[in-house]
Symmetry: C2
Subunit: 218 residues, 2 copies
DNA sequence: ATAAATCAAGACAGATTGGTCTTCTTCTTG
DNA sequence: CAAGAAGAAGACCAATCTGTCTTGATTTAT
């Protein structure tokens, strides 16, 4: 409700996962434990009791902060998404250079994500895969998350003066999703580079100029 | 054990889902019901009782044919994968023309799949997303499934005399995964065409020739 | 016809689920 | 110090979970 003070010392962490954030309040400890278990063992397969045991809190405390398990899942997805986007777009903001360089850097940041030993795929992809048919809440959360990405991609494409920015954003989104799934299944982070090459190919074909072959770097 | 007679009149169905196949034996009815429920509502979320109720069989019958729920999940994944591949590669075999045409037709067949109202994504992607960390059986099943696809893609790339067939197969696999996930989330089958354009772009760049713009067709 | 196998129906067991409630302790705030 | 909020520990409940077992009907094979 009125926990608006949390964002003060929360924003400068460098992790992509909410579960890795330092948790002080009981609410954060629950969220952190739930996030870790949900993302690593599945939402339905994770029981309330294991969350409590990992968080070291009491059952009543959980139900004081969250109405139900479903409510907790929503909160975890939201927090996980915000933490990830903050990390992801933060990394991209560090890139200096033209929009094309920043667009292609998306896949370098992805590779960094994939290389983390704790990488478990995208929580939203996993959640939609698990609940799927007819679960509106989860689907809307995933939609929102992807909307953030699409908007960012579109903004970069516009800066490049690409004719059809929507098509380019859709293309790059497909590449991002594909790289995530391929890396998750194979545990091979280099699928990010495969996706990057496809992105270079696409940008070169819609932009005319040859696509930033990242000479020397890395 | 000795149910080797089933494949006789099973192979000429035109559906991509095992759950839609006509089921006569009790075993098939259970498999069909389980497949439908697992894929639409999740593996962990589907109880044995709802499978039995949908199959119209008794509990003892299920445990006569399968050692456990886990065993049933494995069997469903295997059957679902085989049915899908039989449908998918069957469709592609109908395509006449050079290997490049066949490779690009992959995305037309995908769009057909995505357009089915009962489309729920790839069972293997969903299963890995749900079980994820440390579930070897599921992961190996998904690996095998993807291996079939990669081998097929590689064969077509070799026929095209593409220099690095492995890289091309990996690239197309990323596009397939990305299209599946994007279509599943958005319920928009046209992501198959987006992926197809990226594939054309890639093939054109590694093959020299301009990439089969499918003039007139569709 | 008789023996064997298959199956439906469902009772049953033991564990676990999500969720509520009570009791006692600890901490914070006026 | 006193009042009140927050949390820990855990009993408790009804429902559901996977899995076993029994019984009786139906079918198949000898």
């Amino acid at each position: 409700m009125d926990d608006g003070l949390n964002d003060i010392c929360l924003r400068d962490t460098s992790g992509w996962s909410f579960a890795a954030l330092p948790a002080t309040s009981a609410r954060d400890k629950i969220m952190s434990a739930a996030s870790h278990l949900f993302c690593n063992h599945g939402f339905a397969a994770t029981g309330i009791d294991s969350i409590l045991s990992r968080a070291g809190t009491a059952k009543a405390t959980l139900y004081n902060h969250f109405r139900s398990k479903e409510d907790l899942i929503s909160a975890v997805l939201e927090a996980e998404g915000e933490t990830w986007r903050s990390w992801f777009f933060g990394r991209l903001a560090e890139i200096d250079g033209p929009a094309q360089t920043r667009l292609l850097a998306v896949f370098d940041v992805l590779e960094e994500w994939f290389s983390d030993p704790g990488f478990y795929g995208c929580p939203f992809i996993n959640a939609v895969a698990e609940f799927d048919t007819g679960n509106d809440a989860v689907r809307r959360a995933a939609d929102l998350h992807k909307e953030y990405l699409l908007t960012w991609l579109k903004a970069q494409a516009m800066e490049m003066k690409i004719p059809d920015v929507t098509e380019t954003a859709r293309s790059l989104a497909v590449l991002v999703d594909g790289a995530i799934v391929a890396a998750q299944h194979s545990r091979d982070p280099s699928f990010a580079r495969t996706a990057r090459r496809l992105a270079e190919c696409h940008l070169a074909s819609v932009h005319g100029k040859t696509g930033d072959s990242r000479d020397g770097q890395r």
